[in-house]
């Protein structure tokens, strides 16, 4: 009995020793492999799903709004990195990334201008994540739903309205002998006249333009409810009277020497922040950038957008309203929840958005708040937001289609020839031909 016990004891000891030695060995292996993993982990931490990235442009406006949304979002686990990129850069990177199909380095949330949205949605339908379930699309202004959805699925969360206005320097205009009333409900022809006076009397340019950005043409054109394409997507450049008139106005502006040219966005901002130009006809979102130059507080006001001198033209237009999109990659749910919980449903957030950023959202439940009556000191106590919301209702509706920017690329090249003396009919006809060749 005793002997068997001893034998058992020895066996136990040997087994124990073996276990310990093996455990020690395998433990060592674990450590080394862990070490390796952690090293890799450090270098690839950017690819982790937990971190949400967002791409947007305009730090004063869109990025400011995102940051505000992040403050209002009550989720400690949520981390978002906001990356500022030029809009052109975002468009180019999205095109590169989405067409390669790898989605490598793509953001979770991206801001896309409404006028561009359809070209992305239709070209890369699988790349975007339908977020209609995360908010109620019916809460948003109807005109924002068409560009942000495709085949009945809601892909974009509507953000700001692109309603335009004519921001102007009261001091320069007064010096030239104009009052606010002189700027209300004017035509572009009248605007050019005023511009000439301002240039003559104050030496300041009336506005700043980038030859590569034909936004001003679109603003002019939409006052009449026309576009480069009609509802069916047919390209209508040749014989497009509003476009023709817009181009003529554009050339007139250029020829009259009231334009300060810029070659990029920063120079555009610099033009009015430095006090070089007297007016800024643009979407309401530019207000944030104008207000960024605090020294000019009280020197600015907003008038309605000039209209084209045509029957049925309204003194209201749209430029650059945009919406948020979620890409169909890891982290899409977290990103969609974030958007749904802030831009999609938070009324308080929208009130802060109006007062702090000056952004006018398209979320209907938020449009009745007190903030809309807010008198903005920077704009001579004008009820800027309220006025924009009034003009918003007058915007003639158009279908942007998916080729707006493609056509504009062709048009901008033609415009240079037009400025160089080519006849307007030829310009339109050539653009029509080129566009048809490219998009059919």
């Amino acid at each position: 009995m005793r002997e068997t016990f001893t034998k058992k004891f020895w066996l136990l000891m040997i087994a124990l020793l073996t276990t310990v030695v093996l455990a020690a060995c395998s433990g060592g292996d674990d450590d080394s492999s862990e070490g390796g993993e952690s090293d890799e982990g450090e270098s690839t931490s950017g690819d982790e799903g937990a971190e949400i990235t967002a791409w947007a442009w305009d730090p004063n406006f869109n990025i400011g709004a995102l940051e505000l949304a992040l403050e209002h979002y009550d989720n400690e686990d949520f981390n978002m990195e906001i990356i500022e990129n030029a809009q052109d850069d975002i468009v180019q990177k999205l095109n590169t990334g989405l067409s390669s199909g790898t989605m490598q380095g793509m953001p979770n949330i991206v801001l896309i201008e409404d006028q561009r949205a359809q070209s992305f949605l239709q070209s890369y339908p699988d790349a975007f994540y339908p977020i209609g379930d995360y908010f109620n699309p019916d809460d948003f202004a109807e005109y924002k739903l068409a560009p942000t959805s495709l085949d009945g699925k809601q892909y974009g969360l509507p953000f700001d309205t692109g309603v335009t206005g004519l921001f102007y320097r009261t001091d320069y205009l007064e010096e030239a002998g104009y009052t606010h009333e002189d700027l209300v409900d004017i035509t572009w022809t009248k605007y050019i006249e005023i511009a000439k006076d301002v240039k003559e009397k104050t030496g300041h340019a009336m506005l700043s333009l980038d030859p590569n950005d034909l936004g001003i043409l679109r603003v002019m054109m939409q006052t009449t409810g026309t576009w480069y394409t009609d509802e069916e997507g047919t390209i209508q450049i040749e014989g497009n009277e509003p476009l023709k008139m817009a181009l003529e106005n554009y050339k007139a502006l250029m020829d009259s020497g009231v334009v300060k040219l810029n070659s990029d966005w920063s120079q555009y901002l610099e033009a009015f922040n430095s006090g070089d130009v007297a007016t800024v006809p643009a979407g309401n979102w530019i207000a944030a950038s104008i207000e960024a130059e605090e020294s000019q507080s009280g020197l600015w006001k907003v008038a309605p957008t000039p209209r084209l001198d045509m029957e049925g033209a309204a003194n209201a237009s749209n430029q650059g309203g945009s919406s948020w999109y979620v890409l169909n990659i890891d982290g899409k749910e977290a990103a969609a929840e974030f958007l749904g919980g802030t831009f999609g449903s938070n009324v308080d957030f929208y009130q802060d958005l109006v007062t702090e950023i000056g952004a006018i959202g398209t979320y209907k439940p938020a449009s009745e708040g007190d903030a809309y009556q807010f008198e903005n000191e920077f704009f001579n106590n004008q009820q800027v937001v309220y006025e924009f919301s009034q003009w918003m209702e007058e915007i003639p509706q158009v279908d942007y289609g998916m080729n707006t920017y493609g056509i504009e690329d062709i048009l901008s090249a033609e415009i240079q020839q037009y400025l160089d003396g080519k006849s307007i009919e030829d310009v339109l006809a050539d653009t029509q031909t080129q566009a048809e060749n490219q998009f059919k």
Partner: protein
């Protein structure tokens, strides 16, 4: 203290072996641990440095690709007729400017695609301070500021084509960046514009950042010693001439790592010169941090400690088991020599101890058996002798008694003769017929009385005999012929000078022993006659049986052990007192 020494002595064997084992286990594991850590650290650092020198090559390659893209982009700008033409002409009207801006931007966009993947920016500054900026987010350029900045002077002064400069000032809006710049020149050396490629420090860092880790740092140093980029952001903008001198020292040699001491720490230093950008790429490896990250010293130590602990524990248990049993065995054996030979050893402990104990016990048993047999044989022999003696009634006694009876009959003392014959018969009966070794005191008393009666009949009644027997002792057993020899002795030797006297026989139960006292008030004995409390008897005398005074003591001790026996006290002329101590038997 004494206790401690005692414990130490008791566990002497164990402590010695255990100490030797513990010391050697610990020594071996310390040496193995130290060596394995040292060897793996060295090996790791060696391979790490080799790997890093390969990585340095790769980083250099990336920088070269970048500079190549810049070179080719700048070549394209230079050879682009449109740009050249647009920059040389003055554009007065807005229309002209619009066309100028449009085409400049368009042409540049195509060229920009070459450097764009590196997040670099491309800027052209015209002599009229027109700025064409491909990515204003990366560098918001103020034309006037840039045109009057010393960057331009440096470009104009430099012999080389493309000048790399590190800037972190107003002109870059405080963002640290590397600016590759080139003056666009006509053949006549007239400058018609300036071309810039900027790369912000965070974008520059992306070239090498993925290769870095904690303790494995990369720095870019200008030939002036300024650190323009590093994964350790706090170093950016610092100057380190020390590092520069090391880098310059390594330049031109085969890429080998060396150990240096900078920033108050030991580093493995690798360096490469990137001629295209005129900077030194420096890799600083903090040996301790890197080795610590990969070689988990504390884990190795922990494992070593655990193994040592387990080994010591196992050794302790096994040794303890072995030595304790051996020590116990030793203690038992030494105790045995002192006290008990018949107690077997406990067969416990390890295999060896149990075998030893077993063998020892076997031997002990054998020895005991042997001793037992020997003692039994001796006892038997002795008993046989004594029995032989006690069964043998001295024929002289019979002869003398019969002769006495004959005289009594002649003297017609019928009564006395008849009594004496009765006593004699009973005496013979008890002596011869009763083969039991022990008899009751009552029987012994009968025998004594018979004997005394015969003697008194023969020699007269000058010696009186008194019996004082405790009644509770009457049924106790005593060996035969224990008291008789002393009475006989008293009769025949105590009263040679004194002619009369008495003999008293006392039997009582005292302190759980049976005590018989035979006291006479006869002559007594002188010391010579007493030998070790027995009586020296030399002469062959006519005794009643073969049992003499001499063998009583011997017999009692043989029967009951050393605690019992006979003691004799005697004083001359006063008497003798014999004390017989016997166990209570019933």
């Amino acid at each position: 203290m004494k206790k401690l020494i005692g414990i130490f002595q008791a566990n002497n064997l164990f402590i010695k072996i255990f100490l030797v084992m513990v010391i050697s286990v610990i020594a071996v594991s310390i040496m193995i641990t130290y060596n394995s850590i040292r060897m793996s650290t060295n090996l790791f650092l060696d391979t790490f440095s080799i790997t890093n020198s390969k990585i340095m090559d790769q980083i250099t390659e990336r920088f070269n690709l970048f500079t190549n893209s810049i070179v080719s982009a700048s070549l394209e700008v230079e050879t682009n007729g449109t740009i050249k033409q647009l920059l040389q002409v003055e554009h007065d009207t807005a229309s002209e400017k619009s066309i100028y801006y449009y085409h400049m931007t368009n042409e540049m966009k195509q060229i920009f695609a070459e450097v764009d993947p590196n997040d670099a920016n491309m800027v052209i500054l015209s002599n009229q301070q027109d700025v064409f900026n491909m990515n204003y987010i990366k560098w918001q350029v103020d034309g006037e500021l840039l045109a009057n900045h010393e960057i331009i002077d440096r470009i104009e002064k430099s012999d080389t084509d493309i000048v790399y400069q590190f800037e972190q000032s107003e002109v870059t809006n405080g963002v640290p960046m590397v600016i590759a710049s080139k003056a666009l020149k006509l053949r006549s050396d007239e400058i018609y514009g300036y071309l810039f490629f900027s790369l912000t420090e965070p974008d520059l860092r992306k070239f090498y950042e993925s290769y870095t880790s904690e303790g494995n740092n990369v720095l870019l140093i200008t030939p002036e010693g300024e650190i323009i980029s590093s994964n350790q952001e706090e170093l950016i903008g610092d100057s380190s001439l020390e590092l520069l001198s090391y880098a310059e020292g390594v330049r031109g040699e085969d890429l080998e790592y060396r150990n240096i001491n900078v920033f108050g720490q030991e580093f493995v230093f690798l360096s490469q010169y990137i001629p295209s950008m005129d900077i030194y790429l420096v890799n600083l490896i903090n040996q301790e941090v890197v080795a610590d990250n990969v070689i988990n010293t504390s884990d190795i130590l922990l494992i070593a400690i655990v193994i040592v602990g387990l080994a010591v524990l196992v050794a302790f248990l096994i040794l303890r088991k072995m030595t304790v049993s051996i020590s116990q065995l030793v203690r038992q054996i030494s105790d045995m020599a002192r006290y008990q030979f018949n107690k077997p050893l406990k067969e416990a402990g390890g295999y060896e101890t149990r075998k030893i104990a077993k063998a020892f016990n076997y031997m002990l048993n054998e020895l005991q058996d042997y001793v037992q047999i020997l003692m039994n044989t001796q006892d038997k022999q002795r008993k046989a002798e004594l029995e032989a003696l006690q069964h043998q009634i001295n024929p002289h006694f019979i002869y003398n008694t019969l002769a006495s009876i004959k005289f009594m009959i002649r003297q017609e003392k019928k009564e006395t003769a008849s009594n004496t014959i009765d006593s004699f018969i009973s005496l013979l009966q008890n002596s011869l017929s009763n083969v039991d070794e022990t008899i009751t005191i009552r029987q012994e008393l009968d025998n004594l009385k018979s004997y005394v009666q015969i003697n008194q009949a023969r020699y007269g009644e000058r010696i009186k005999v008194n019996y004082l027997i405790s009644p509770d002792c009457l049924d106790l057993l005593i060996p035969k012929l224990v008291i008789q020899p002393f009475i006989e002795n008293a009769f025949f030797h105590a009263f040679t000078q004194k002619k009369t006297g008495y003999i008293q026989i006392l039997i009582a139960n005292r302190e759980k022993n049976l005590i018989c006292e035979i006291v006479d008030n006869g002559d007594g004995m002188i010391a010579d006659q007493l030998d070790n409390k027995t009586i020296k008897t030399k002469e062959k005398r006519q005794l009643f049986s073969g049992i003499g005074v001499k063998n009583v003591h011997e017999r009692i001790q043989l029967l009951y052990g050393k605690d019992y026996g006979v003691e004799i006290e005697s004083k001359p002329l006063q008497g003798t007192k014999v004390l017989i101590k016997l166990p209570l038997q019933s």
